[in-house]
Amino acid sequence: MGIRKLISEDGLRIDGRRLDEIRPIRFKIGVLKNADGSAYVEWGKTKILVGVYGPREAHPKHLAVPDRCIVQARYHMAPFSVEERKSPAPSRREIELSKVIREALEPAIFVEMFPRTTIDIFAEVLQADGSTRCATISAASLALADAGIPMRDLVSSIAVAKVEDQIVLDVKDEEDKHGSADMPIAIMPSKNVITLIQMDGMLTYEEFKKAFELAKKGCMEVYKKQRETLESYFKEIKVGLENV
């Protein structure tokens, strides 16, 4: 571990947050004109752009499934998103995250309503500072809502970690790299359903329970932000329709 401590004596983290404090999050909807739905998120220093297309006919056609629509996700990090240039070719990690993001979002979508079609989600990480998969999932569910795709609930996601024997909420890049365990989790808040849970490292049962409760609390905060963003974005149109 580095010379600098990740958590100071008075319980503050390197960016001055308390242990259970999340970074400032700002969502923006409808940022891409060509996409059917889109969202942009600034999650601390993490910046991600998500575009959603569909439901549309699947290409190549053999991918289509007769009884439901398939969801395809592509997570990609821009070469300039990290300090050392990242090769733009999809890495092992990006392929895994694409799969994880797809599986976190699929339970929320009414896939059976659009048989033989596909929904494509494209996420581009413009700047990475930890929790990119959580930010992508949260932003992608807003982009899906923007596209008018029927969903059971929004998906909210956040990561927790064990850093210097303490459980912290909303993991930053350095905490992820030098911490001893981290656990991203995604839930459908109003249904109380977990759609993603991963863990890297070791936690005791007690630590896990504490981390899980903290993550749930964090997800609710993200969910609130997501709803606020949706409401303010759609407010203009709503006011209009009431005045028909």
């Binding site: 059917d36 549309r56 969903m151 059971r152 149109i237 006011v239 209009g240 329709l241």
Partner: protein
């Protein structure tokens, strides 16, 4: 969203006695049925709808059309041509080719099969002239207005023929290009300003000023 003895209508699903909206929209309660009207979305075909499709592919006896829905539509040759197509002698592309626009009616659709079209009736068929603008399908009622007030205003003030496809494609055909562009601008204005009240009056003003 709601709890109690209701029935779930469009865009609503229930779990036990709780009702949830599946999209962002306006909730409406009528005769104990809850429905949600979408604020933004795509076109879902329904039998009898008049749509404007763009040909994207040609197969031996049919055309494949993009109708801005999750599924591509199929227009069989016999649903457009007055006499049967002789595949040996005639080339289907000589009647309609990729890129051309067709006004058609949805004759069959149930999500398990692609929508089928008919382009033989009155006012249907290949679009020969005019201009096409696209709006979000959820705004189509807005372009038409209350009991057709908006569309008749546009027609009267510009002297153009206007055909609104349910899928959000609108055909404007007038005497001059300027007139068509004027209507297109008015339609874009309606789409952008749908949320501000007094829309019909403002569009009237806009058309008068630009003439």
């Amino acid at each position: 969203m709601a709890e109690g003895k209701y029935e779930a209508g469009d865009n609503v699903y229930r779990e036990d006695n709780k009702f949830y909206s599946t999209i962002v929209g306006l909730a409406e309660l009528r005769n104990n049925v809850i429905t949600v009207i979408p604020l933004k979305g795509f076109y879902i075909p329904s039998i009898g709808d008049i749509v404007i499709g763009k040909i994207i592919d040609v197969i031996p006896t049919a055309w494949i059309l993009d109708i801005r829905a999750p599924w591509n539509a199929i227009l069989f040759a016999k649903e457009y041509l007055s006499k049967p197509l002789n595949v040996m002698k005639e080339d289907i592309r000589s009647f309609l080719d990729v890129g051309e626009m067709v006004m058609a009616k949805v004759t069959s659709f149930d999500r398990t099969k692609n929508p089928l079209l008919n382009a033989k009736g009155q006012g249907l068929g290949k679009i020969q002239k005019g201009m096409i603008v696209e709006v979000n399908p959820t705004r189509v009622p807005r372009i038409i207005g209350k009991k057709g007030s908006m569309i008749s205003l546009l027609k009267k003030e510009s002297g153009c023929q206007i055909y609104v496809g349910k899928n959000g494609r609108i055909l404007i055909s007038g005497k001059s290009r300027e007139n068509e562009i004027l209507v297109a601008e008015a339609i874009k204005k309606i789409e952008l300003e749908a949320h501000i009240s007094g829309l019909t009056d403002r569009i009237h003003e806009f058309l008068m000023k630009r003439r």
